[in-house]
């Protein structure tokens, strides 16, 4: 990158952070964010400890991630990396946050493949773990919903989505496009119930 200012106006002037700093910073978060909720780890690591971005910027970037496809944690890594050091920053941030979990899952899948059918206990343990995982996903969904479902129409859109996917067995893509378009049209400009924070 030359001395030229960033072409797209940044939210703020980021402190000078090297690519190695970014990689290591995200690698640490990627390796220690046990128990889901990586976004909370990102916030305390990036805003609190390292002070790479302001909290308002963090919230703003998070709202972009929630609207776009892609996982919130990896999208946040890309956006923060881009703010700090452009495309290269985004690439090393993404690699850093994904690497530890990916290596762990590769090892887990290899071990699982090796044990296939040989051990009744493993199936039983994983059955217990998967029941807990369902409870975990439902809790996360409930917490999100409690915050963002504020009107009756929101519940209708949630119901339509669930019915389309789980009862009518339509593809997720079709449901996303149809119900999504309907919901966006419902909240079209001029009909927004409350002004969404800029």
């Amino acid at each position: 990158m030359s001395e030229a200012p960033a072409p797209e106006a940044p939210f703020e002037t980021p402190p000078s952070v090297t690519l190695t700093d970014i990689f290591v910073g995200f690698l640490v978060i990627g390796a220690t964010s046990f128990g889901g909720g990586v976004v909370a780890y990102l916030r305390s690591g990036l805003v609190g400890r390292r002070k790479w971005i302001a909290d308002e910027t963090f919230v703003e970037l998070l709202s972009i991630c929630q609207t776009l496809p892609g996982l919130n944690a990896s999208n946040m890594a890309i956006l923060v990396g881009d703010r700090l050091r452009g495309t290269a920053g985004a690439a090393v941030a993404l690699a850093g946050i994904c690497l530890p979990g990916a290596l762990m899952m590769v090892a887990a899948a290899a071990a699982y493949a090796a044990s296939r059918g040989s051990e009744v206990g493993i199936g039983a343990v994983l059955h217990g773990v998967s029941a807990a995982a369902v409870g975990l996903v439902l809790a996360v969904t409930f917490q999100l919903g409690r915050k963002s479902l504020t009107r009756m129409s929101d519940l209708v859109f949630v119901a339509l989505t669930v019915i389309g996917v789980d009862l009518m067995h339509q593809s997720v893509l079709l449901v996303l496009v149809v119900v999504g378009a309907l919901a966006i049209y419902w909240y079209r400009p001029g009909r927004l119930p409350e002004h969404v924070k800029p």
């Binding site: 128990g35 972009i64 999208n75 206990g121 998967s130 807990a132």
Partner: protein, 173 residues
């Protein structure tokens, strides 16, 4: 290795469905991975997904496990790149455009409209997993206990998952 193109196509497509969270893509992942390509059985997919809940980092790193299962380390790498590159590039682009869209009135409409749809997709994904997992009273009890404890306390989910593993060892053998 002949599975690589199919793996890349499947996971690049799935990544586009993860609006709101990785769980949104789960029903489609089940259809493609289990029913169409027969890469693994539904219980195996659920097992990998569940182990993935214990891994750190973005919550769908279990996809690397699927790649490893189907085509070894190269498969894992191919799946991770296919899953993160398309949406990553989109995010990079929109992230830079976002400020300029500030005065575009539909920006707020899209954000507001997609919020309930993304929650619906998460819920649909959870239901889809529950169909393969909640098979009787013991598994339902584990699910309800974890759900209740997470909402009532601020406990980290990892010890709860560990406890469920122990309960599962005795309940499901």
């Amino acid at each position: 290795m002949s599975q690589l193109p199919a793996l890349i196509a499947v996971f690049a497509y799935l990544s586009l469905l993860t609006v709101g969270g990785g769980m949104a893509a789960f029903p489609e992942m089940k259809t493609l991975v289990v029913d169409n390509h027969h890469w693994m059985t539904f219980p195996q997919l659920i097992h990998l997904y569940s182990v993935g809940q214990m891994a750190p980092g973005p919550n769908m790193m279990m996809i690397a496990g699927i790649g490893q299962w189907v085509a070894g380390p190269v498969g894992a790498l191919a799946v991770v790149l296919a899953f993160f590159l398309p949406t990553g590039l989109l995010t990079l682009w929109v992230g830079r455009l976002w400020n300029r869209l500030d005065h575009w009135p539909w920006r707020a409409s899209i954000q507001r409209g997609l919020a309930p749809v993304s929650i619906g997709l998460l819920l649909a994904g959870a239901i889809s997993i529950a169909r393969g997992t909640i098979t009787g009273v013991p598994s339902a009890a584990i699910m309800v206990a974890v759900f209740g404890l997470l909402l009532a306390t601020r406990i980290n989910p990892i010890p709860l998952i560990g406890a469920a593993a122990v309960v599962g060892y005795f309940a499901f053998r």
